[in-house]
């Protein structure tokens, strides 16, 4: 029996293999399903070029919150990842890049001290070695279990972007579904170029919180990628199948030295 997956938007039943061969995008309505970290890396990097950095690092429990360690372990076992971001170096159409891919399936992609540290470290390495940094964001925001240390990662990652800006090394951000909270209010909003996958939810406060504040239903398409583009916060909405070539174009054009 072939496995069938139903598209949540157009409700068409899709053969799982067809979906997988189509980069987890609905062939009927272009709905972008969740894309796992490893699939993303294969999709973006040249074959076998990705070398992971800091893969052994794991989160601590700085506030000694009960049950946090068990939760981390559960997510580790389930996702086969050590935490909510994978970072490394690779080539993209032959060009050297540093790549960070956030994992929404690991505790909602939340940013604790480890996620902030790994992303900061990559950006600083990029600034030193003059290598562009690409970050695929997917996060519900700061990791509540790490309290104030999570909040401080917003300042830390943003200060690393300041260093990239000052050394004139490009930062390319790709917003994927969903990117909210403390990640939106830090590095995810600070790319030299900010791209987004179609339909991704992008915002600071989540829709439920806003609905609770204003006491009325939110307009259709509110906070979606296309909405953010139309409001001036996203440069382009790019289909998954075109993402690698789009990034390749950006890397190439940022390499051109017009004064030489």
């Amino acid at each position: 029996m072939e496995k069938l997956v139903q598209c949540p938007i157009c409700h068409q039943e899709i053969n799982a293999n067809v979906l997988s061969n189509n980069l987890e995008v609905c062939p009927n309505c272009n709905y972008h399903f969740h894309f796992k970290v490893r699939e993303r890396i294969v999709n973006i990097c040249d074959e076998n070029s990705f070398v992971e950095i800091d893969e052994h690092l794991v989160s601590l429990n700085p506030l000694e919150i009960e049950g946090y360690e068990e939760k981390l372990k559960k997510h580790k076992d389930k996702s086969n990842l050590n935490d909510a971001v994978v970072t490394g170096s690779a080539t993209l159409n032959g060009e050297k890049i540093y790549l960070c891919v956030m994992a929404f399936d690991f505790m909602g992609g939340s940013m604790g001290a480890l996620v902030g540290e790994k992303i900061t470290k990559i950006m600083i390495e990029g600034a030193i070695n003059n290598i562009p940094v690409i970050i695929f964001c997917a996060s519900g925001g700061a990791r509540m279990q790490e309290g104030i240390f999570s909040l401080m990662q917003m300042a830390k990652t943003s200060s690393a972007v300041a260093l990239m800006n000052k050394t004139k090394v490009p930062l390319f951000i790709v917003l994927t579904h969903p990117t909210t909270g403390g990640v939106t209010a830090s590095f995810a909003s600070l790319g030299d170029v900010i791209l987004s996958e179609p339909g991704a939810l992008i915002g600071f406060a989540g829709p439920r919180v806003i609905q609770g504040t204003i006491g009325q239903k939110l307009p259709e398409g509110f906070q979606r990628a296309e909405f953010q583009r139309d409001h001036g916060f996203v440069d382009a909405v790019v289909n998954r199948k075109d993402m690698k070539e789009t990034l390749s174009y950006l890397i190439k054009t940022h390499k051109v030295k017009n004064n030489e």
Partner: protein, 302 residues
């Protein structure tokens, strides 16, 4: 011991008693939100010889929830920014309970850049439950506004001192809180989310806010022990609202002491020190030295 000495000593002891009182985190949360608690405008009146508020972000509008302007403290010109919360219901509504829209953060950044241009130190007074989670706020990019402030404040070349005087609520507080020196008032709190939010998300029961406050490590003492803040500003034993003059004079002393040192530093060493401090928070212990790459990149810049 002479009678005079004895009298002096007992007076000193009573003063110590007057200004220290151990509170539970939840008591601090409640006190930090007390409607009579002195706000940024009260402290400006008590600290500054003079002050002129300045309006607008030059992009969209004026956000009353974010106060900004130029003040004189003992003859020294400083730029002051701070969250206005209001001290009665009418004022609360007028300033949106201290919750800024993007234009508030952009106004703060405009004034900070202006301060940098004219070599004025920046003092921020933080007192907000958070940035405003509403339609207009999202449409005009509240996330981008806060993010940009975090980035820009981290490399401003003038001294920045921040005081959390009441509620330090999450990204909305941090948006004017990246600084060289960060202080909490004794009964102020600073956290990634309100205890109510923490209880509702992690304990699935918003009524467990008190329990949440107890484990969130959000009090001045906790934050000092975790090296997030540089010091604690004393309040009257019954809270800053009972004796605003006292905490104001403690704040003023701290500002003068810090600025005497910070204004003598060269801009690049000021920024290096700030970046190093930000970089070190939550850096994994098992990892090799984090400061070396940072120094390398700073050498490239400065």
């Amino acid at each position: 011991m002479s009678k005079i000495e004895l009298k002096e000593m007992s007076e000193r002891l009573s003063r110590v008693d007057k200004y220290t009182k151990k509170r539970t985190p939840w008591e601090c949360v409640k006190l930090s939100r007390n409607i009579n608690r002195p706000g940024v405008e009260d402290y400006i009146k008590l600290i500054c010889d003079d002050f002129m508020p300045l309006c607008g972000d030059r992009l969209y509008g004026e956000d009353k929830a974010m106060l900004g302007g130029i003040g004189l403290i003992d003859g020294r010109a400083v730029t002051i920014i701070g969250n206005r919360k209001g001290s009665n219901l009418k004022e609360n509504i007028d300033v949106n309970y201290g919750m800024s829209h993007p234009e508030g953060y952009r106004k703060a950044l405009r004034l900070a850049k202006q301060a940098e241009r004219f070599n004025r130190p920046i003092i921020s007074f933080i007192d907000t439950p958070g940035a405003y989670p509403g339609l207009g706020s999202e449409e005009r990019g509240i996330g981008e506004a806060i993010a940009t402030n975090l980035k820009e404040f981290s490399t401003l070349s003038v001294p920045i001192i921040s005081f959390i005087i009441g509620e330090g609520g999450s990204g909305g507080a941090l948006g004017i809180g990246v600084s060289d020196k960060l202080y909490l008032l004794e009964n102020a709190v600073y956290s990634v989310i309100t205890p109510e939010g923490f209880a509702s998300i992690l304990m699935h029961d918003p009524s467990k806010a008190e329990e949440a406050a107890n484990i969130m490590k959000m009090t001045a003492q906790d934050l000092l022990e975790m090296e997030i803040i540089h010091g604690i500003i004393k309040e009257d034993k019954d809270g800053a609202h009972v004796n605003p003059e006292f905490s104001a004079s403690e704040i003023k002393k701290t500002i003068n002491k810090d600025l005497n040192i910070l204004t003598k530093k060269k801009p690049d060493s000021l920024v290096r020190y700030r970046l190093k401090k930000i970089r070190s928070i939550g850096a994994s212990k098992e990892q090799e030295s984090y400061s070396e790459p940072l120094l390398k990149v700073l050498q490239k810049i400065y």
